[in-house]
């Protein structure tokens, strides 16, 4: 497993060069925006249960066949497995966002996930849709772009200082896209 710092070390070691100059600029921005990143991780972890249950609910609303007899979220046992998987994926995304590097997500979550889902008969298209909904709500919470209209009864805004979080929103979004890409 690597983080943003050890990633630059590993790539410098391949060239037997020290880490200096331009390589350090990226790390300095990680340090400078460190508090923003911790707030972003906190935005995901504090709302994890809500993000996951909303995503699975949304996926089922769009395709109600999933909870009818023969569907992949029927009976409760399989619905519970679906919620559990959503939480696991979100957890590894929060690790990747904390580390600033996707290697933990790749190594410990995505490696072999598609093959497992195919073997178990899980519809990867539906799973990908649930991850896409998680992406929408997580990025809205990180960037504080969510609105009462889209949030409904569950609307919540994180009480963090206002600022430019575009880079972190994009980074978090890229990890969700990585999951969708890996299972579809």
């Amino acid at each position: 497993m690597l983080d943003a710092f050890s990633r630059s070390v590993v790539s410098a070691d391949a060239k037997t060069a020290p880490v200096g100059g331009s390589d350090l600029a990226g790390l300095r921005s990680y340090v400078r925006d460190g508090n923003k990143r911790l707030d972003a991780v906190n935005a995901i972890t504090s709302n994890a249960s809500c993000i996951v249950s909303d995503a699975v609910t949304g996926m089922i609303c769009e395709n109600t066949g999933l909870i009818q007899a023969g569907g992949n979220c029927y009976p409760n046992r399989r619905m519970a497995a679906c919620l559990r998987d959503g939480e696991i994926v979100l957890r590894y995304i929060s690790y990747a966002l904390l580390a600033g590097d996707a290697s933990v997500l790749d190594d410990r979550c995505l490696n072999g996930l598609k093959e497992t889902y195919i073997a178990l008969g899980v519809p990867t298209q539906s799973a990908g849709r649930a991850v896409a909904i998680m992406k929408a709500s997580a990025t809205a919470l990180i960037g504080e772009t969510n609105s009462p209209a889209s949030g409904g009864k569950r609307f919540r805004k994180m009480e963090t200082t206002q600022g430019d979080c575009a880079a972190l929103v994009a980074e978090a979004g890229s990890y969700f896209d990585r999951v969708i890409g890996a299972i579809s």
Partner: protein, 164 residues
Amino acid sequence: MKSVVTTVVTAADAAGRFPSQNDLEAVQGNIQRAAARLEAAEKLAAGLDAVTREAGDACFSKYSYLKQAGEAGDSQVKVDKCYRDLGHYLRLINYCLVVGGTGPLDEWGIAGAREVYRSLSLPTGPYVEALTYTRDRACAPRDMSPQALNEFKSYLDYLINALS
């Protein structure tokens, strides 16, 4: 690669939980000290060749017998390899400063070093002498800020202890 963030994530993953407030605080503490580390890494990277040269010269001037026939530095090829190794050690210290932990030195420098030096009949004393010279030669604020120097010297001491 062991670092503060990967240690925190490994522990959270083993427990199957999201990163907790404790984890975020640990990472925050690491970030606060990062500016000095990165400064030391930058200055060391910029002067790596000069520092290597000075350290090697210091060790060969103290142990001049090393260049006699039958000793570890009796040909130019062997002397060059000594300088190369010192450069490698300093590069690994640069990596440690970037990561904020001893992971790179442990994994790529120290693990197995004793066995290698023994099988090649190489003395580790001269390496210790060269690194000690570097440690005592570096000074603030000429080379880097005091806090950065402190970080740099702590990794030098870690390596010296491992080699002695």
